[in-house]
Symmetry: C2
Subunit: 211 residues, 2 copies
């Protein structure tokens, strides 16, 4: 049964992983795959895989399994990898520059069109062929170019103000690397908090608690 309403967060979190594995299968020339075989390779149960995929449509066929190419395309469509969402990045420090350079924005449905920093000294410097602009030009830039997503690589002190400046300018999504927790009480705004420090602390916890 198709229809992507009310899909739980747990399912959505697994989608990129399916996409990644299917991409690899495709690359290695595998044409069809069963939920059982996928289960072995990915470490999810076959039951879960079938149930996950069925949230979006009956992509498989009894007695055959799933067509790798088709399933890859379908999940890509669900994840919107063919979109071309305009994005800006705020904060061109070490992390900001690395994210700008390192991420394959285009392959994930995004188009990075502007980079901003409060440090005037950085202005004009090119990152991924995009000039860093002083933050004071952000307002006009957004008005003129209508980006939809902002990548935040800024100190947490500045986060709240930047967010509340950007939302009225039409930003609908934040990819947040700052330590600030973006409350999800802004209507119609999507947020992905990355919180690298949290991840590092969890690793610390796990190492301390190895059997």
């Amino acid at each position: 049964m198709a229809g992507n309403t009310n899909v739980s967060v747990s399912v959505i979190k697994r989608l990129p992983r399916y996409y990644r594995f299917l991409g690899e299968l495709k690359k290695s020339g595998i044409v069809r795959i069963s939920s059982g075989e996928l289960s072995k390779r990915m470490g999810f149960t076959a039951s879960q895989i079938r149930q996950d995929l069925n949230c979006f449509g009956g992509f498989g066929q009894q007695g055959y399994g799933y067509n790798v190419e088709q399933l890859y395309r379908e999940i890509g469509k669900i994840l919107g990898v063919d979109n071309n969402i305009k994005a800006i990045l705020i904060g061109a420090g070490n992390l900001g520059k690395a994210i700008a350079t390192h991420m394959s924005f285009e392959q994930r449905g995004f188009n990075l069109i502007g980079i901003f920093d409060k440090n005037e000294a950085l202005a004009g410097q090119l990152v991924r062929n995009i000039p860093i602009r002083h933050i004071s030009g952000m307002y006009n830039f957004c008005r003129d170019n209508s980006p939809v997503v902002a990548v935040l690589c800024i100190p947490s002190e500045n986060a709240k103000d930047i967010i509340e400046e950007l939302i009225p300018l039409g930003i609908k999504g934040f990819w947040n690397f700052s330590h600030y927790d973006i409350a999800n009480n802004y209507p119609d705004v999507a947020v992905e908090n990355v919180h690298l420090s949290d991840s590092l602390m969890m690793l610390s916890y796990r190492i301390n608690n190895l059997k």
Copy 2:
């Protein structure tokens, strides 16, 4: 009731967030806090907060609440922020360098002692005052310095080999930024996969599905 056995992953994931909020409360001079007040600030239910904290010990007091300073210290201890776990970083590209420079390893219980890359041209370059070494020196370096954690900022193609070289050298934890999924079938090894691309794709999904 104390004892940190069988604490669920869901709880552990929230610990760094508690730690972060308590740090802010401490900074702003707040001495005590109730689960109800924390609930309002963090967006978890008071019941969940009390239950989470009780996995590790009865840190609160009826009629009073929790002492901010004490709770901060306790959670820090649980997360091991006062440890000094020796870590190496493999892959000094954009992302690797940024992670090395940007992260407060010491504040999270780690001590970054070595950086490696397969690119000979980078050898000798200083990042955070640590010289980049050629990957060929990794074996001896590990034997001599016994790092416990490896931060992987390498392409997925190289991941499996590096991991299987490092485990016999005594690496007990991986902070993995590569696209490779580290299977958790290595006994006594802790893994934190970051998967930035997955996070970006989830943002894409969410933007496409805003009401």
